[in-house]
């Protein structure tokens, strides 16, 4: 082991991005929520805020994420299932009704349609009288991991990267408090990759985005401080703590040495963490509270900036109000009772943690070199390399569990037969017909000539190379829907079809 003298708040930030860490400010407790209708989601947000949550995290249904309105035939059976259905400004206004957008920050899990949902949020702020310079939040806006693991892509990689850079460039000028990309390892880890792969593939995605923006001519320090990360926190307690430390060290070097960043904020890896849904079990579900506590504690000891703790039923259903509250209370107990917030990076200097940090850094670096040799992450993704690495790791894990080389309490050992009854999700069966009705009424009410003009401008813009954000803002201001915008973009950009086979 090399003798290092690393300090919290100093390059390469292995020990944390702030010198005082949680003594100065606790992490943001940000529980992901959103389901059914805009009205129900609004009610849940107001409840969470009243219970001391400090930021909102918005879940969208799959049609919204993949660019179909609720009344599209492709949306059959999926409307309001895994998040809230947003088709037009009317829905977005309802979600944030009575919530002051200059007082909360909102994180949106949205990728292929990020530019449209961001535009909707900005127009809601505008109507509330909140200037764009006062709003803060995040769009995930991380398309590469969608091709690899999460699956909500629409367009091929090149036009998708353009949309990402459009957001970055637009926000640098107009919405300075907005986090423009949340580069995510979470879903790749859920899909089965290892801790070292999670670091490497996430940072490789980050490199691809920074590269794209630099190639557009943006000064790296003008946008890099607004790029954040999103990691998983798995059950291997010490390895996870080391993972966050190694990721910070690597990113700081990448930004300084590869991209020539001068501003230290460009080199700081800031991240959100969610505990690992894939470690939760349907068997003996109360155990999940314990798993989540261990994972949350690792995230905090690893220096996270914000945290979502999973509810015990979250891996198999949308959490109930009761289980969602218990998850939030878990964070509050760690923050206010456990005492771990007293010192930044309290495990730094431990032989084992330092060695693990170095090992993970080295393994991740090996992957990064390999990806560079393939010609970069875009090539590695298109060729199916990353996808294959991940599902092979997932298969190895399953075999180890089946052979009992890995013990999962309540699943392959200490089994007691107790199992969470999987209840049918209470999504109103009338929701889809009602949404169709609402959208039909909206379409009728609008000025058809204006809509056509908006869409024609969008098509022209998409065929050219100008920044599409102002055009999309104008579209949604006039109640052009998410589906209508995507239809034009699909026709212009084409659609991505993966060609990997197992």
């Amino acid at each position: 082991m090399t003798e290092r003298r690393e300090e919290p708040g100093k390059f390469p930030f292995t020990r944390g991005i702030h010198a005082s860490m949680y003594r100065g400010k606790l992490w943001t407790m940000r529980q992901y929520a959103g389901f059914g209708t805009a009205r129900e989601t609004n009610k849940r947000y107001k409840y969470l805020l009243s219970q001391g949550q400090t930021g909102l995290s918005m879940a969208f249904d799959l049609p919204t994420q993949i660019g179909y309105d609720s009344d599209d035939t492709m949306a059959l059976g999926e409307v309001g299932r895994v998040g809230v259905a947003i088709s037009s400004l009317a829905d977005m206004e309802q979600v944030f009704h009575g919530i002051p957008l200059d007082k909360v920050s909102t994180s949106m899990t949205i990728n292929a349609t990020a530019s449209i949902l961001l535009a909707l949020y900005l127009v809601v702020a505008e109507r509330e009288g909140v200037p764009w310079t006062k709003v803060s939040g995040t769009v995930q806006n991380d398309i590469l991991k969608e091709y690899i693991a999460r699956g909500t892509y629409i367009f091929p990689p090149q036009p998708s990267l353009r949309l990402i850079a459009d957001i970055v460039e637009f926000c640098a000028k107009e919405v300075p408090g907005w986090n423009t990309i949340s580069v995510g390892g979470y879903h790749m880890r859920e899909a089965g990759c290892t801790a070292a792969q999670e670091i490497a593939f996430t940072l490789a995605d980050g490199i691809a985005y920074v590269q794209t923006c630099v190639e557009r001519g943006l000064d790296v320090d003008s946008f890099a401080p607004r790029i954040a990360f999103f990691f998983n926190c798995h059950s291997n307690f010490l390895e996870e703590i080391a993972k966050f430390r190694a990721a910070r060290r690597l990113w700081a070097h990448i930004m300084r040495d590869r991209f020539g960043a001068k501003n230290e904020r460009s080199m700081m890896l800031r991240f959100h963490t969610q505990t690992a849904g894939s470690t939760l079990t349907a068997q003996q579900p109360e155990n999940n509270v314990v798993r989540t506590t261990i994972e949350a504690l690792a995230a905090v000891l690893g220096g996270t900036q914000s945290l979502h703790t999973n509810a015990k039923d979250e891996a198999i259903a949308l959490p109930t109000e009761e289980s969602a509250l218990l998850a939030l209370r878990t964070q509050q107990i760690i923050a206010y009772e456990s005492g771990v917030t007293v010192e930044p990076d309290p495990l730094g200097g431990s032989h084992y943690i330092e060695r693990l940090t170095d090992e993970l850094e080295a393994k991740a670096r090996e992957y990064l070199n390999k990806i560079d040799n393939m010609g970069g992450m875009l090539k590695a993704v298109e060729g199916g390399y990353v996808y294959k690495e991940i599902y092979h790791a997932a298969y190895e894990h399953q075999k180890a569990v089946d052979r009992k080389e890995k013990i999962i309490v309540g699943v392959n050992e200490f089994v007691s037969g107790e199992r969470l009854t999987l209840k049918t999700q209470k999504i109103d069966p009338k929701l889809e017909p009602r949404r169709r009705h609402e959208l039909a009424a909206l379409r009728k009410k609008r000025n058809a000539a204006k809509i056509a003009k908006c869409l024609a401008t969008l098509e022209k813009g998409a065929k050219g190379s100008e920044n599409l954000m102002p055009i999309i803002v104008d579209c949604v201001r006039n109640y052009v829907t998410v589906g209508e915008i995507c239809k034009v973009l699909r026709a212009t950009f084409g659609e991505y079809r993966p060609s990997h086979s197992i």
Partner: protein, 132 residues
């Protein structure tokens, strides 16, 4: 010598969670079966067309987003309509207990929930697939 069992593993709807489907696909292949995997985002029509074209013995449907009732029942309906006979259909993912009962009534032979081992699925197929 008997030919290997041929299985189509299919993801229905817009759901992108494919870890389970991929792990099952690889597990069945390593158990000596012939496996065709559709990838994500397939309509029921595409799944049935693939099953017919590949002339499979079994279809494994996977969904984790809650759209299974609408999508799986449509697959069963189309299989009937296309007069596809003797193909065993099973399912996996996050399927509520009430829905498992309904799906079994529609002719889906078994539903494998979270925590199922590969061996249990292999055994189920060996026991229940009738080679044409």
């Amino acid at each position: 010598m008997k030919r290997p069992i041929k299985v189509l593993i299919a993801k229905a709807g817009l759901d992108g969670h494919e870890r389970g489907a991929l792990v099952v696909a690889m597990g069945l292949r390593d158990a000596g079966m012939e496996v065709v995997y559709t990838g994500i985002r397939n309509t029921p029509e595409q799944i049935v067309a693939a099953a017919v074209q590949e002339d499979v013995d079994a279809i494994g449907l996977s969904s984790l987003s809650g759209g299974h009732m609408a999508q799986f029942s449509r697959v069963m309906e189309l299989l009937k309509k296309e007069k596809v006979k003797g193909v065993l259909v099973f399912a996996g993912g996050i399927i509520p207990d009430d829905d498992v009962k309904k799906l079994k009534k529609l002719g889906i032979k078994e539903v494998f929930g979270p925590g199922s081992s590969i061996a249990s699925i292999v055994e189920f197929l060996r026991k229940n697939v009738r080679l044409k």
